[in-house]
Symmetry: C2
Subunit: 170 residues, 2 copies
DNA sequence: CACGATATTTTCGTACACGAAACAATCGGG
DNA sequence: CCCGATTGTTTCGTGTACGAAAATATCGTG
């Protein structure tokens, strides 16, 4: 049959089990990145996001990444301590803190080889194309099936609470 | 070219994005469990596993759950401090520490309502049956596509290192 | 028997991740 | 103009989660 990792598990538990293995693999990869390139996956994610748009503020960045502000704040603390990002209070609205990537930060992400950046994409790319497509669609669907209020969407913050779910058919 | 960060992305990055949302939802649910029932998902997972088989030792439990020994050790520390599990050195082999669930631990997991136990299953069960099946199979496949040495299987520890992979071996 | 190799657990340091509370700044009424 | 409500950031405490190193116990071989 279909390979049971644990003695007796129905199709319900298998997915959860696999999910834990996947997140663990991602975590282990992040630590490897940290050992070899002095940067972790979440840090890399923040840097890449900041690189693309410079108008970022903490709360915006957090909602884009689907992380809480305190989590992202901690990551930024470490990045700022190493001079990889800059924080500066906005002049128009002094509540806001504008985030930016520094030349040193830019240099660092340029130095990390493509292959090390994202182990998810590597594992993902080893699957047949049709399965890749199917899997990402199913993951997106599953994500939507968790209580919606738990993971407020990025767009909610900039367009106001959505009346409905947009992109059901992309 | 492709990365995995922002809302509008190809099917490669969407899966990663969705994965982060899912793990975040699971984490948030675990904290809710902690607030309302003084127990977290990983702790509940350990208790349930210990409940089923009493011969558990730390390293065995860790590999079953696909977590590192230090992680599980920390979880057990908290459970033991609350008198929910017991540790006792094995008499035959004093290196081993036998783990067991206490009556208090049993009582606690019995008191947590079914509905609170696993938000994954709830979200999962909201999907059509065929999609459930498909998703868990794809997740299992994806898990296998991560570097295998990163996630040593449970059976490796009790049956010795596998000579080969069960099914799809390219 | 001694002693190194192995097996197991524990400890330590670090990073992530969250919520709650504290803090800071802006804005709208009265 | 002050003062409460709101928005945004930082701080704090806790719980995962990992690897490396230390500590403990067993076992095999000389």
């Amino acid at each position: 049959m279909q390979h049971a990792v644990l003695p007796e598990e129905g199709s319900d538990g298998r997915g959860y089990h696999a999910l834990r293995r996947i997140t663990r693999a991602l975590d282990v990869h992040s630590r490897k990145l940290h050992r070899e390139w002095k940067i972790t996956s979440p840090q890399l994610l923040c840097l890449h996001t900041l690189q693309k748009e410079s108008v970022h503020t903490l709360s915006l960045l957090a909602s884009e990444l689907h992380l809480s502000v305190s989590t992202v704040n901690g990551i930024l603390d470490r990045l700022e301590a190493r001079g990889l990002v800059s924080r500066s209070r906005s002049l128009e609205d002094q509540r806001k803190v504008l985030l930016g990537i520094t030349p040193a930060g830019q240099a660092l992400i340029d130095s990390v080889p493509e292959l090390m950046r994202d182990s998810y994409l590597r594992a993902f790319s080893r699957m047949p194309a049709d399965e890749q497509m199917l899997l990402s669609e199913l993951l997106v669907k599953l994500a939507r099936h968790f209580d919606p209020e738990i993971t407020p969407a990025y767009h909610d913050l900039i367009t106001g609470p959505a009346t409905d779910y947009p992109e059901d058919r992309p």
